[in-house]
């Protein structure tokens, strides 16, 4: 059953067509990998889905609800969170404050109360503890290393308990030890029912982690299937994964 559906989405920047009628479906409860060469439209698709950019045409639905061109805050409130290829945290806030920005509160009174109050703090500390950033909780987030910022960004999406998480190159700049921990965390959250869509160039990471891999090329979906199928697909190997993967395969 699909949780996120993209139908004939188009997006152009001047003369460059980043998405040229992209149609794809992401399965609920799966770890979906989204791969393709640079410029194939993966990040643009993320931007359109998550409300950071508007589509020129097409439709995006989340659990059957039309979220095409909805605002980013509305999309997040519906349970879809994302991370960025180049981390985007709040550098002048502390690590703990960063997490609390993402916690969702309803109502006027909730906004008036201190951000430190409620069960949110224990939840934030729990997530922070899991990503190993507890000792840095009171430090300005801008002082963290790039890998730690990646973890922080992952953490503050996690704390909001979204139903779908879009991760844009989570492995970029993260050392192998952290990467194994991150993969464990993704699997753990996936077992709790969270659907993942992961854009990643680290093929070992994608093929080892994802249940299903979707391939993009020139702004369109090319193929989708189990990692082994995609890996074995000669067109994909030739056109998108490059010679390294062919040799590795």
């Amino acid at each position: 059953m699909s949780i996120l559906q993209v139908s004939d989405v188009r997006k152009s920047y001047g003369g460059i067509q980043a998405l040229a009628g992209c149609t794809m479906t992401f399965e609920e409860g799966a770890i979906n990998g989204l791969i393709g060469p640079n410029g194939s439209g993966k990040t643009t698709l993320f931007n359109v889905i998550s409300g950071y950019e508007t589509a020129d045409a097409g439709r995006v639905t989340l659990r059957g609800k039309d979220i095409t061109n909805a605002r980013a805050d509305q999309v997040f409130a519906l349970g879809l969170g994302r991370t960025f290829q180049i981390t985007r945290i709040f550098p002048r806030l502390t690590v703990l404050e960063n997490l609390h920005v993402a916690t969702q509160r309803r109502g006027f009174v909730g906004q008036l109360r201190s951000w430190k109050s409620g069960a949110e703090r224990s939840r934030a500390m729990e997530v922070l503890d899991f990503v190993g950033l507890t000792p840095l909780a009171e430090e300005p987030a801008g002082g963290l290393s790039y890998g730690q910022q990646k973890l922080l960004e992952f953490a503050f999406i996690t704390v909001a308990k979204p139903s779908v998480m879009l991760l844009d190159e989570p492995a970029g700049g993260v050392n192998p030890t952290l990467l194994r921990g991150l993969a464990d965390r993704i699997r753990s959250l996936n077992n709790e029912g969270i659907t993942f869509v992961i854009v990643e160039h680290d093929m070992e990471f994608v093929m080892g982690l994802c249940d299903r891999v979707l391939v993009m090329h020139q702004g369109c979906a090319l193929t989708a299937g189990a990692p082994a199928e995609v890996r074995a697909n000669p067109d994909v190997l030739e056109a998108y994964l490059g010679s390294d993967m062919r040799e590795a395969g």
Partner: protein, 397 residues
Amino acid sequence: MTAIDVTPKGAAAPEHIPYEPPRQIRWTSTGLLLAFLAVFPLLFPNPAVTSIAVITMIFLVAAIGWNIFSGYSGYISIGHAAYYGIGQYTVALLALHAKVPAGWDTFGLLPVAGLVSAVAAVPIGFVVLRVRRHTFIILTVAVMFILQLLAFNLVSWTNGSGGLEMSFPTWQGSYFNEPFYYVGLVAAIVACAASWWVRRSKYGLGLLSIRDDEDRARGLGINATRTKLIAYAISAFFVGVAGGLYAPFIGSVYPQFGFDPTFDLAIAVLVFVGGIGTLSGPVIGALLLIPLQQYFYLQFGNANLYLIAYGVLFILILRLLPAGIAPSVTQLWRRALIARRRAAARSPAVPALAGQSPAGQSPAGQSPAAQSPAGGLPGAPPATAAVPHAGGDEVAR
């Protein structure tokens, strides 16, 4: 499944060095300052001095209000004189047309002046907050000049360049300034309380996240338009109250003084010097610079030398304390604290802390300072943080 470990092998959690002085120091200094301000007119009853004190209170209220929006959201407004003018005209017009007697009754109009300013800020904010950075600054200035032009041209309401004259209160003589001073002090305390609440609330955290990365904040569920607009209106409220206090104190309202571009520059300078985006920055800036400016004016006003003296002081502060007074002092305090702990750690009497990481155990891809908040030093973060923190009164930028 195990948690991700980002600390070096064998390293204990390093001790956190706080970014602001302990609570008791902050509360004590606040209490002492409040007590001093409460007895100030008794200690210095000279009308020339209390007159400066009233102007200081008015600017203090306005500076705290301005900081609630511009300091916390990062949107620098150079058009808040619009609300200063609206506050002045609201009080003057109500006093004249509703026949509000001059004196204590006029002070009852201050919340109305604030509310009218806040209500006016909603449609204005809705337009100007659609843009960011330089464009936003230009738009705020433009709105202020449009309102000034309206004040000049809506003669039937404002009497144009002839201005509006207000009756002076019934109390006179040596004690003329004191009621204005104490009303201003109460308004400043309310403004401070509002600023403190914004800083610690969930709403305020959203505002601070907008300052750092607005688009990212939107992507985490923050309704940025609404958040900014509320802060803009709160800010306009306090600037309107300041204007509402200024009009009866001076006894007249004129377009060029109500909607005065130099007011905005003065407010921005006060807050930058004190420490933008902090709770105490506007307080320090206003309490330090306004009396100095008024003093220079009284001493050297005839030849406008006061502007040169004021400018030199401003340059000196920015040169020596570029982050503003409050953040710089906090930084100095933190450095002193770190130096003391370093000295204690080096002392043979004190056993080495467990947090010291052995050399050469750096996880790949991380700088030593990033692996541990101690920055390689047991129990102590780096003396100069790469990114200053904006919380409380600590470094804002």
